[in-house]
């Protein structure tokens, strides 16, 4: 927009030549439609991607991998159970399946998810194993033995919703828009949050310049153990450090222990022929020479003598040394044979990296770099847990078998199958408990992790979705380092740049961007073979001298060989991947600083699809996109055709990626599919976010999750603890492409309000909003809360049980007031109004529940009704009676409240601009424009200058244009409807281009002095409502122990006059007020104090002096009396010495 146009808004715009130019088809050499076309074309790949992948695909993929692949691996690793007693006996697991038997092709019937939610059950499927074992002399094969039940992730391939049509879903009360990816355990929906960790089995080099320390560390992680090995400098000499070796071992000694005995070869392996490295490293030889250690055996014995592992079986020092080198150090490379070369090379490479960092301090790794991070998903966590439980299951099973086999003469042959079912509950309950509590305790790794799972937030559709894409960091929140919290350039396109909470978790909790994929583990062996076929020379035959002359090839951090022509190798490999011969998620990149080619097949890497560019031309052409739109091609076909490929962060760094097609030039290798995919699902709701100040977008990301709206198509069938629903939700006038992709337009949370940006009364200061009373009457901001109450009718061992009684009636046969909402069955009737003090479940419990069965007496019942207590009445919406998993009757009552906005309710636009309702004004008093349109909301213009939310202004203009035009406009990030076009529409309809209107005062009818920025903005109603917060108390309950008023609104508590307020009162000198607030209105208590002994007595009698003569009555706080008595119990006698303050 030209400044001239803004400066003279009163001029008719047609005279403005600068603006005129904008409207011409060619503006400054650029066609108005140029960029939009390409953007619109490519964009279609995104819905195609989401169609295949979905928003929570990472969770589903990882769970599917767990149940289909990982389970089988676990079974294989723990397949044999042998008996200590009978050497003949064995039991072998052959196969494992979840959810279906080997005999039937169809899946087992499992209780549908919604029924599990309602009945407080776990959505799970049986786990079957095939076993082979000996019974006497015979070998028996047994199929489909159930060893427990596995909680099933919704929408995974074991879920009944997998592949279900919208109609099927409706039949079982499921919402087709629900993303899945969570579990239902005991009726609650639980999400296993994605965990971010430093990558395993990779060398990380760090330097501490203050302490002059360089260290290379590697966290080895295998199925059995986790350990960390360091190569560290100390006084410029290099040592190897490991937890199970008592002290640091000189690195040369370690290499000698690995069989590299000659100093020449050590030098070659570590330094190659680089003389500066040789100078740095040479010192290390002296130390070992001084120790007089020359041979491998001497070195091994030295290490063996330092090992501090406790073993059951005694080993010689030499054997200890061999064991330490072969298995303990760098545990993920376990040596099974005589040759330690692989390990020697790994240690040498670590040392080389340390030497390189000593030589050039820039050669260190960045811990916070996204390429060095791995994400741990539900599947991996479940797999760790399952293996632990399965091992325990097998141990118990084995103990049981041994116990039976130990008996010398058994009557019959022992069938191991009989004892397998005894322990099957362990696995199911172990999995259930871990998911429902979030405590992941793994005995193997001695790991205890709390807070792994969270209850899925159903506040709004977007909050549930946001939870599924959330990534939590293992990093401690309390530590004051900025690095892990900072925005990393490498997170572009992988992690959302806006969506992070404020406060202590800022930057530690992240969200996935829209178009990402998280890899699952892939087989290493075929890739290794492929490398050799592509010309990699195996590390076992390469001599030490020529190792560093060529590029080394690393597979998942482990060196596998060397290659003379790395660029050619990498391009061959990429071609194979593009043609689908190699999995598309395997990444390969060259690191020229380390002279290395890295190949990664491990799971947990974030990657994203990009269009491949060849010689400055995008491989995806308009023709392909047409085929895509016609449904002839799918996203996966683009991968197969080699038009699109997945890149992880490391490989991204090896590529040139163009943002737009116009940026293409010969050296470019990839083209972005859509730039707005840098944002995640939640930040994608914001229209024109690229015009906003960045923290505003972050604020909106937090607030979008609190907005009340539609939750799911099955929202009226759900009985959740607390549910907020908007009565008339609308889709936003100004959409984004993300909104359409994530179906926010089908389950919106907000309404399009006509906003006038002006001052009105004094009730709009500090972001307060002025609401139009008639708009509220029409339904603006109206919402519904639904609260659940669960009662269980228990059964007791003596055959008595809780019961629900009928209603009590008065003389005229009418039910008494408390029982008004009840029906004849003693449960609240649907539709009845319940007021505070009324009963909606008339439950009674037997008084003799603890009696034994033998002394049968007539059951006596005591009424324990469920009483409604709240400031506002509710209506009974649903009553459900069912039977839970443990056969107890379960009653759920859903109470509904309908709320219209009131003073103090919180609203927000989509630009991080929140405000509370300051005043509700009658329709006739509000300003109106030429057409008679009256605003729904008046917002104070002071909200704009400091917040700089220009996006909100553009939203208003686009929205207004959309209203006039009858179209929905787009505010997509880095794109969307152009402001110029929107202004043109406004102009065409006879409005001002800038969105300003002439308004007339509703009170005086006069024209307002200024033009008012006036148009629709999408407003969200947030869950913070005055009704849930307002609280006052004159008198009420007191705590039992201290007799002080209770705390908190839910307990009808008092409002505390705290320490600082007390200080004010003291400073003011209002001593009587102080006395009244702190004692008389709180916990005043009359005590009898003996003036002789100073202790407290009672009823005018001092127990210690045995007399009543000196006893004086006085008032002290009950808490003080409690303190004295507690001190007495500790053998401290506080004695009160009383004096008269006022002389009589």
């Amino acid at each position: 927009m030209s400044t001239a146009a803004v400066a003279t808004p009163h001029d008719h715009f047609e005279k403005d030549s600068a603006f005129e130019q904008l409207l011409k088809p060619v503006y400054k050499g650029k066609k108005l439609t140029d960029e939009i076309n390409t953007a619109e074309d490519k964009w279609n790949l995104l819905p195609a991607f989401l169609k295949v992948k979905g928003l929570v695909k990472q969770h589903l993929d990882s769970f599917n991998y767990f149940v289909d692949v990982d389970l089988k691996k676990i079974i294989k690793a723990n397949q044999l159970i042998l008996s200590d007693v009978d050497p003949e006996f064995y039991l072998k697991y052959v196969d494992i399946r979840v959810g279906h038997r080997s005999t039937s092709s169809s899946k087992d019937y499992i209780v549908p998810p919604h029924e599990c939610r309602l009945r407080d059950m776990t959505y799970s499927a049986p786990v079957y194993v095939d076993i082979e074992y000996t019974r006497g002399r015979n070998i028996i094969m047994h199929r489909d033995v159930e060893i427990g039940r596995m909680p099933i992730m919704l929408r995974s391939n074991k879920c009944i919703l997998n592949g279900a049509s919208e109609k099927d879903m409706a039949k079982i009360n499921e919402c087709p828009l629900d993303p899945g990816g969570y579990f239902i355990v005991n009726g609650t929906e639980k999400v296993i949050l994605v965990q971010e960790q430093l990558s395993k089995n990779r060398i990380i080099v760090e330097a501490d310049e203050k302490k002059a320390i360089v260290q290379a560390s590697v966290t080895s992680s295998t199925h059995e153990r986790k350990s960390k090995t360091y190569v560290i400098t100390k006084n410029d000499k290099i040592y190897l450090k490991h937890n199970s070796i008592a002290e640091e071992v000189p690195i040369v000694l370690v290499l000698k222990a690995c069989g590299i005995v000659s100093d020449l070869e050590i030098m070659q392996l570590v330094c190659g022929n680089d003389s500066s490295y040789q100078d740095i490293f040479a010192v290390n030889f002296e130390e070992v020479a001084k120790m007089k250690i020359y041979t491998q055996q001497q070195a091994l014995e030295y290490i063996g003598s330092k090992v501090k592992t406790v073993r059951r079986q005694k080993l010689s020092t030499l054997q200890e040394g061999i064991e330490a080198i072969a298995t303990t150090v760098i545990a993920h490379l376990t040596v099974e044979a005589l040759d330690f070369r692989e390990k020697a090379l790994y240690i040498a490479v670590m040392t080389r990296r340390v030497v390189m960092a000593m030589h050039n301090p820039k050669m260190v790794d960045d811990r916070d770099y996204v390429g060095n991070k791995r994400l741990e998903l539900a599947g991996q966590l479940m797999s760790l847990l399952f293996e632990d439980l399965f091992k325990k299951f097998n141990n118990d099973f084995k103990a049981n078998i041994d116990k039976v086999l130990k008996k010398p003469n058994r009557a019959m042959e022992y069938d191991a199958l009989l004892s397998i079912n005894v322990h099957s509950n362990n696995i199911s309950s172990g999995l259930n408990r871990a998911i429902s509590t979030g405590n992941w305790s793994l005995k193997r790794f001695k790991m205890e992790r709390a807070g792994v799972t969270h209850v899925l937030s159903r506040l709004s559709y977007i909050s549930a979705l946001g939870m599924m894409t959330r990534i939590s960091s293992q990093f401690e929140k309390s530590r004051k380092v900025s690095g892990p919290r900072a925005l990393q350039p490498s997170q572009f396109g992988m992690l959302c740049t806006s969506d992070t909470p404020e406060g202590e978790a800022c930057g530690l909790v992240k969200n996935l961007a829209l178009m990402t994929h998280i890899t699952t583990d892939d087989e290493e062996e075929p890739i290794k073979k492929l490398c050799f076929l592509l010309g990699v020379e195996c590390i076992n035959v390469v001599d030490s001298d020529s190792l560093h002359l060529n590029y080394c090839v690393y597979l998942n951090g482990t060196i596998v060989g060397v290659i003379r022509f790395p660029t050619k190798f990498v391009s061959h490999f990429r071609n194979l991947r593009r043609s689908g011969k190699v999995s598309e998620f395997i990444s390969i990149y060259t690191n020229s600083h380390q002279k290395a080619v890295h190949i990664a097949t491990d799971g947990g890497r974030i990657c994203r699809p990009l269009i491949i560019v060849n010689e400055g031309k995008s491989l995806v052409t308009a023709q392909h996109l047409r085929q895509l739109l016609d449904g002839h091609l799918q996203f996966d076909d683009f991968l197969k055709l080699g038009l699109v490929e997945y890149l992880d962060v490391n490989e991204e760094n090896d590529s040139f990626i163009a943002l737009y097609e116009r940026d293409l030039e010969p050296r470019i290798t990839h083209l972005e599919i859509e730039p707005f995919t840098v944002l995640g699902a939640v930040a994608g709701l914001i229209p024109y976010p690229h015009h906003n100040q960045s923290p505003r977008n972050t604020y909106q990301c937090a607030m979008g999750k609190q907005a009340i709206g539609a939750i799911a198509y099955n929202q009226f069938k759900r009985i959740d603890t607390l549910l907020y629903l908007m009565i008339y939700p609308q889709q936003p006038m100004v959409k984004t492409k993300t909104i359409e992709l994530i179906d926010y337009d089908k389950l919106p949370a907000g309404q399009n309000a006509t906003v006038a940006v002006m001052s009105y009364s004094g009730y709009d200061i500090e972001d307060a909003l002025v609401l139009n009373k008639s708009s509220i009457d029409r339904g603006f901001g109206r919402c519904e809360t639904r609260r659940k109450l669960t009662t269980v009718l228990k059964r007791y061992p003596n055959h008595t049980q809780d019961m629900v009684g009928g209603m009590r009636v008065d003389e005229s046969g009418e039910p008494i007031w408390q029982h008004k909402p009840l029906g004849p069955d003693g449960l609240g009737e649907v539709g009845m109004k319940v007021e505070s003090g009324q009963i909606y479940v008339n439950k009674s419990v037997p008084t003799n529940a603890s009696d034994s069965v033998l002394t049968q007496s007539q059951a006596q019942y005591r009424e324990t009704p469920v009483v409604y207590r709240a400031p506002e009445p509710s209506h009974i919406d649903q009553v459900m009676m069912s039977v839970s998993e443990n056969d107890q009757a379960l009653i759920k009552v859903l109470l509904r409240q309908n709320r219209r906005p009131e003073l103090g309710d919180k609203f927000s636009s989509r630009h991080g601009q929140k405000g509370v309702c300051g005043i509700i004004v009658n329709h006739e008093d509000l300003p109106f424009n030429d057409q008679g349109v009256v605003p729904d909301i008046i917002m104070n213009p002071h909200g704009f200058p400091s917040r700089m939310t220009v996006g909100k202004m553009i939203e208003l203009i686009s929205g207004k244009a959309g209203v006039l035009n009858g179209s929905l406009e787009y505010g997509t990030c880095f794109g969307g409807s152009k402001l110029e076009n929107m202004s043109q529409i406004l102009v065409n309809h006879g409005f001002n281009y800038s969105g300003k209107d002439m308004l007339y005062s509703g009170i005086t009818g006069e024209c307002l002095q200024a033009y008012i920025f006036f148009g629709p903005i999408y407003y969200q109603k947030l869950k913070h409502m005055v009704l849930d917060k307002m609280h006052a108390r004159a008198r009420g309950p007191r705590a039992v122990l201290t007799r002080q008023p209770t705390e908190g609104r839910s307990r009808d508590g008092g409002l505390r006059l705290g320490e600082m307020e007390r200080d004010c009162v003291i400073a003011y000198g209002a001593s009587q007020l102080l006395l009244e607030r702190l004692m008389i209105s709180s916990d005043a208590f009359e005590v009898d104090v003996c003036n002789k002994c100073g202790l407290m007595g009672y009823s005018g009698w001092c127990t210690s002096c045995k007399g009543a003569e000196n006893v004086i009555k006085m008032t002290i706080p009950y808490a003080a009396k409690l303190l004295f008595q507690e001190l007495l119990s500790m053998n401290i006698a506080p004695r009160l010495k009383l004096e008269d303050v006022f002389e009589q």
Binding site: P87, I260, Q297, A337, R341, F532, V541, T567
Partner: protein
């Protein structure tokens, strides 16, 4: 592998591979015309081939009989694929005679030890009469010095110390409380060695085979390799359609 096998059975590691000048310098796919066609024969030698690499020996030593004296004794453990070569040391130069006599039992030979690592897809090539002959390699061993004499001396010293220490402690000698426990003979309580320890145990217990080192047999070997019978005919496992269906 290298074609420069001269009159020696064991191929030295040829460390003088073409040193890469510039990793990025590469011929383009188009500018790679066929210059010459050479027939390739896949043959089998009369015996399995092992490559012994000498990582500590510079290539320029070549076959100088002084710097690279012929091997005097060869021991091989077939189960563990463990090679041990004894090479006589020139005791005239760079040899501390006194120390050798005092400390190391006048050792006069260098022992080289190496573990053969099984390989797959490694071949030795030979050019005879404009034809290339490829022989599969069974294992590659890197021969590194093995200071057996130092370890033996250290071992015996320790044993002496252990023997000497015992009688010097009379208290330990007098008070002898003998506790006996009966160990159950079941297999489970036997110490089970796994992985590398087991491999070492197997290697230690295996008796070495003494082999004879013969030099100058290359011509004879070459003749036996290029015969018609030793060649292996490569037959396709599937037919053309099969291949095409897989390739598509």
């Amino acid at each position: 592998m290298s074609e420069q096998i001269e009159n020696q059975l064991f191929v030295t590691e040829d460390s003088g591979d073409v040193v890469m000048e510039d990793a990025n310098l590469q011929e383009s796919e188009e500018g790679d015309p066929i210059v010459r066609e050479i027939p390739i024969n896949l043959t089998n030698g009369p015996f399995p081939l092992h490559i012994l690499q000498y990582p500590n020996k510079p290539k320029k030593n070549g076959n100088d009989p002084v710097l690279h004296p012929p091997v005097s004794q060869v021991r091989y453990k077939s189960k563990s694929s463990l090679w041990e070569l004894d090479v006589p040391v020139n005791t005239e130069i760079f040899y501390d005679k006194n120390r050798a006599e005092d400390e190391w039992d006048s050792v006069a030979q260098q022992t080289l030890k190496g573990v053969g690592v099984q390989t797959e897809g490694q071949y030795v090539g030979m050019v005879v009469d404009e034809e290339v002959y490829l022989l599969p390699v069974q294992a590659v061993a890197q021969m590194r010095p093995f200071f057996k004499y130092i370890d033996t001396v250290a071992q015996s010293k320790r044993e002496n110390e252990a023997r000497g220490a015992q009688p010097s402690n009379p208290a330990a000698r007098r008070a002898q409380v003998v506790t006996m426990s009966v160990k159950s003979s079941s297999e489970a309580n036997q110490p089970r060695l796994g992985g590398a320890l087991l491999a070492h145990k197997v290697a230690d217990e295996e008796p070495p085979q003494d082999l004879e080192w013969i030099e100058g047999t290359f011509n004879q070997f070459r003749e036996s390799v290029i015969t018609e019978d030793s060649r292996t005919m490569m037959l396709p496992l599937g037919d053309e359609n099969d291949y095409l269906s897989k390739a598509m």
